[in-house]
Symmetry: C2
Subunit: 232 residues, 2 copies
């Protein structure tokens, strides 16, 4: 059981990480959370279900999506270490508005609602990080909405999805953007509100036009500006 993760010795801190906190708060965090190891392709939160706890992601990536009854899917974002799942629902005491599924083996820390609220109210830093974490979720949702509403063409939507992904995961930024693209065409389609086939066709077109290059999981956007301009 490697689930004995300690928040105090944890290495994954960063400006985008909820658990970047003063030592005192980390001690508290360590006591109130229950660690979990979860396999890939498991559902952590299910849309529509009541929210009684939050999950802090310690390791692994988790797909955040919303679905319609008709089976249509919207991929909102991929959450990673330092993100908190279920925050907005806990705060508002509503049902979950999204579904969260692990896409690889993950290490989470679950905290019951009441304990989390106490934890938050007990420290200004925790409060601020909580608000920040929700603000990040907000921005991801807004990006999705923008993409879907403001692009007139399918090309624009896909370009926007790729650029947004690049901004969050870029490795090099020497004019061209290079990054890991683990998403399938199906998943990109769900991000951009397109059909799988259209994504395939557009990526082929982008490749021919020299805008995009893909070797395995490594994707390069050679002319971000040109892609941007498709956004219209």
């Amino acid at each position: 059981m490697p689930a004995s993760h300690s928040c105090i010795t944890c290495a994954i801190r960063g400006p985008q990480c909820f658990c970047t906190l003063p030592a005192l708060d980390l001690l508290d965090l360590d006591t109130i959370g229950a660690p979990h190891d979860i396999a890939a392709n498991q559902t952590v939160l299910r849309e529509g279900y009541s929210a009684d706890r939050v999950y802090i992601i310690c390791k692994g990536r988790i797909k955040i999506s919303a679905a319609s009854e008709g089976g249509r899917l919207l991929l909102v974002r991929i959450a990673g270490p330092g993100d908190v799942l279920g925050l907005a629902s806990i705060l508002r005491t509503t049902n979950h508005k999204v579904t969260a599924e692990t896409i690889e083996p993950c290490q989470l820390k679950s905290i019951p609602r009441a304990a989390f609220i106490d934890f938050m109210r007990g420290s200004p830093d925790v409060s601020q990080n909580t608000a920040l974490a929700v603000a990040r979720e907000y921005e991801a949702a807004l990006l999705s909405a923008r993409r879907l509403a403001l692009s007139t063409s399918a090309a624009g939507k896909l370009a926007s999805a790729l650029l947004d992904w690049a901004r969050m995961n870029h490795i090099h930024n020497n004019e061209a953007l290079e990054f890991a693209m683990p998403l399938t065409h199906e998943e990109l389609a769900c991000m951009a509100g397109l059909s799988r086939e259209t994504v395939t066709r557009l990526l082929a077109r982008f490749r021919v036009e020299g805008l995009v290059d893909q070797q395995g999981e490594r994707m390069t956007l050679h002319e971000p500006a040109k892609l941007q301009s498709l956004y219209c």
Copy 2:
């Protein structure tokens, strides 16, 4: 100058209101904010500009939107008394991601970033309300994204826009939903990601089918369930 609004005597408190706070916090709030009266059709925040203050809405409604270079528009929500503008941007220290325009004469209270952060960190209740306010923004953005991505048909998108609006502004709920609909077809189109003409045509169709009834600004949805089912 009726801009001498006091937070302590202010009547518009509610569960959805940022300024529903203990008396002590209200005293603080009263000292740090500068009241403003603003005419209709004025821009309060402009997308892309840097965020140096938040605005609490005391009176009036404000349109929150995002635009593309091509002039295309997405209407995210209509904010009202008790909402806070620019919160997410202040917290993340990014540029504004949305534009806010008054749609009627408004009374606002502006608070510089530093003062607001101090205010927030100084009280658990303010912190919690801040997080809550951002969570509400998140939910609105998510609703927009859902609507745009998950509805296959234009009818579904419009139905979803109407239902979401109804949920936020309903008056009666005796099977049928009745509410004020001050939005023009153009604005509804921006909410649903459709063209103005399509909105006109669909509303006409809904009227013929007995789903929707409109008398001036008063709109009634007679069969919410049927509208819902269009969502697919």
